[in-house]
Amino acid sequence: MTQSFRLENVGLINRKNKISFKFNGKTYYGFEGDTLASALLANGVHLIGRSFKYHRPRGFFGAGVDEPYAIVQLYRNGETEPNVKATEQELFEGLEATSVNCWPSVNFDIGAINNFLKIFLPAGFYYKTFMWPKSFWYKVYEPFIRKAAGLGVASIKHDKERYEHKYEYCDLLIAGSGPSGLASAYAAAKNGARVILAEDKARFGGTLLTSEVNIGNKSGKEWADGVISELKEMPNVTVKNRSQVFGYYDHNMLVMSERISDHLSKTKKFHPKQRLWYIRAKEVLISSGSIERPIVFGNNDTPGVMLSSAAKEYLKVYGVLVGKNPLIFTNNDSGYETAIEFKKNGINPAILDSRKDPHSEIIEEAKNLKIDIKFSYVVVAAKGYKKVKSADIAKISDNKEQLGKIENIKCDCICVSGFWTPTIHLASQSGNKTKFNEDIDAFVPGTSKQKEKTLGAANGVYNLDETLKSSFEAGHELSKKITNNDNKVSFPNVVEKKSTSHDKFWCVPLPDGKNYKRFLDFQNDVAVSDVEIALKEGYRSIEHVKRYTTLGMATDQGKTSNLNGLQLVSKIENKVVPNVGHTTFRPPYTPVSIGAIVGREVGKHSKPTRKSPMHLWHKKNNAVFIDAGVWLRPRYYKQGDENLFEGSKREAKNVRTNVGVCDVTTLGKIDIKGPDAAELLNRVYTNAWLKLPVGKARYGVMLREDGIVMDDGTTTRISENHYHMTTTTAQAANVLSHLEYYLQLVWPELNVNVVSTTEQWAGAAIAGPKSRELLQKLFPNFDVSNEGLPFMGYIEGDLFGVKARIFRISFSGELAYEVNVESDNGNFMWEKIIEVGQEFKIQPYGTEALSVLRIEMGHVAGSELDGRTIPYDNSLEGLLSKKKDFIGKRSLTRKAFTAEDRQKVVGVVPLDKKTSIPEGSHLVKDSNAPLPNPKLGYISASCWSVEHDNPFSLAILKDGKNMIGKKLFVMSPLKNKIIPVEIVSSHYVDPKGERVRS
């Protein structure tokens, strides 16, 4: 294919580098520096997709971020990305793209039948059409909507690209590199401020790239290039192109997405695809420019109808003609600039100007160029289905209500200019209450809310001289405030054409007998008639009208449609626009990829993985791991092809008969020091702590202020003013914060310090009847007899030259010890225990066996201490001191907590002694009772008791105290099980606790 719409010697593209790409399977050529849109237009391709609701043919409307139509499915390096704007996607070798929202193809679209059935798809069509019958929803409506109405298709493959996050601080963040952005950045940078200048597009300069102006005896583009290259050299300046500042958040934090590799065929090695910048700026200058407004007329969505500024940009930046027989339809001077550019390149445009008799420099220039201009003329309707072929035009009365005789003129594109809408999104997001500016028929930022200032066109200033002056000044003033420097830059001489005022005209009336669709929102297919219906049906608030009609709700967020929608509502409602108000601008300004938002926090990076010092040993010995909070813990050590059930049973049995060793490094450990340490413990734990002797451990339970159990664990008195607290793995961080809270805020008079030592100690629990014999061999020079190291005793030992702490505590209910060494020695300790333990048939055991052992002992843990239970529920009421106050004690007197039939932990055994009981099942009295069957309790933990060789569960059961011996049913609708059970004591093994003391 030839690029038959490409001009020679015009544009900023690199003609030396020809690039091939595919659109809808067909190969085309463009140049380096093209966007997909400009390259397609160079090839005369205007039909790019189908509209969302009516599936009408769609072309290009803009040339950048405001584009409502040209959304494609992009294929790059084996990956696909939906909803890419062709106007933003830069061309690269091998680019492939397809149309979205058309099935089976862009040229023959079944959904287009909606266009002829549009009577069924008026405003609120989602709410009306797909309401009933209910059964139709899943079978008919939803599949239809999904197939016919979707935009692009998201990839279901893992995204191999890398996305990064970056945090940055600066004095001034400047969003947009048009005249105001460049001038303010330059002034601030020269005054020593740390500046970040962000430009959404690949090229810096904004409108300076396309406007015929002269700054300091240079063309706009030359001046912009000069400023940018000077800024790039300055160490205090960061200049970023392809970077969209899309969100303005609290406390002057802005987020910017930088597209680093999207314009390349393939991301370079070690480069991210995109980078998300979190920028905390002392001051923000919003120089985001403005977007041209369309004028609404019949069939104004026909491919070939586009913004006049876009036509000019395609011509001047890309050397592309959007048509060879252009019709310019304008209500202001901007349309003339486009017409003149066409004329200068040998094309004869025609201008329809809705104004009656405007006079300005540029109009004179157009007249001198012999451009055909019709004043008081409008386009009534575009003609042509897949492309504009002609236009119905007419003279319009001075009051803009009567049309003259309809004439038809040939044209191949209609370039529309309905004046300009400032891009106030960032200012509005910052909290700035916008105000309506009558002169430009648009909202502009009001009083600054955060440290932000809006400049130039974004502030409704369309005069270059004034824009540059105020921007130089703002850059200087704001930087001076921060740096205290006063280095001024000289202000360049500006030459520009003076323009005259625009016509407050935005919608062409319908001619008699015609019912053309006149679109407001091009992406969501919202027409004038839809808004009229919504208002007729009683919708008043603009926010409601938006949601009912979907006006401004598409991926372009109404960048080109908002104001015309407001004009319409204000006209029908007979209110002025500021009283209608605008809908809320929310971040992101433009769609941001999920990848960029997620950054590196994917897969293994989504949370840190902590490993114990013995991790490699576990791995070598076939441990199957399980996540325990952020830790990886061995669940069981697989032997041969045994499964979890078999392996954990073997391990638990070995603890009951010989000796086992379990890695307990992950338990939270808090070092507590200070003369008031005992007093702190006495207030935090429910039991008494003031008289614990040195060298002794004690089990303790701590509550929240509302009486609910927060955590349990043992704390050991290492020396006079030094305690070692253990917490559960899951609650370690919360318990530390809890202690800090009380020490810093509630009882600052207590002289105590707390610090986490979880990572400092490696722990091994040695449990089983042979554990003492093993311990004696590990510490031959220490007295570990029942007298020397009694239950809940503590000594410091020496493990083959390594300092060790030995606690006689038990979680398994067996005679057991816990040995701690400094983390670096963890693996040494572990290997020694395994080596020396061989003669006692030692086996390592994982968390599953640990669970079995604690469940059959009736030892409550996380599944019972689940943030809903009080000490009584867990049979821990014996640990509640009556003599002293403690955190949460007062709450325990609440009526519900002292009820006679209060829930309590019990044991549950199936009557057949065979059927395993699913955790989470409910306990009921009568399995045949009508629904809802009153629930008496729930199964908190289940195991296969190795002691009794039958299933055993713990449950929290209403009136549990009086239920022992009763027969109930366990019901699990999820697993479709009903199991007759007997309620027994929660202490299923060694109820008197003799083993731990043996």
Binding site: Y167, Y249, D250, H251, N252, M253, Y278, R280, G431, R683, E705, D706, S737, E740, Y741, Q744, L745, V746, P748, K884, D885, F886, R890, S891
Partner: protein, 89 residues
């Protein structure tokens, strides 16, 4: 994301902190008689204020100190920050 001035460390991003609720609530003294209503007010009852509010934050990924922050709950403006031991005036 808020920018909070830790009285110990200086200006830090919100993601270094965790929120701790109303800073004006005073825990009743240990061991003292207290009515059900007063205890309920301490444990459960909180005002959901619109506007200036003294609240607790902990600089959890920094100095680990609990601090008092005066913030507007509607605009997120922060007016003042204090150390745990400093009294709200």
């Amino acid at each position: 994301m808020l920018h909070i001035k830790c009285p110990h460390c200086g200006m830090r991003s919100q993601n270094e902190f965790s929120y701790g609720g109303d800073a004006t609530i005073k825990r009743p003294e240990l061991g003292k008689e207290i009515s059900d209503q007063d205890w309920d007010n301490f444990v459960y009852n909180r005002k959901s204020l619109k506007g200036k509010h003294w609240e607790l934050w902990q600089h959890i990924s920094g100095c680990r100190q609990w601090i008092k922050v005066e913030r507007d709950t509607a605009t997120h403006e922060i007016f003042n920050t204090l150390k745990a031991t400093e009294d709200i005036s």
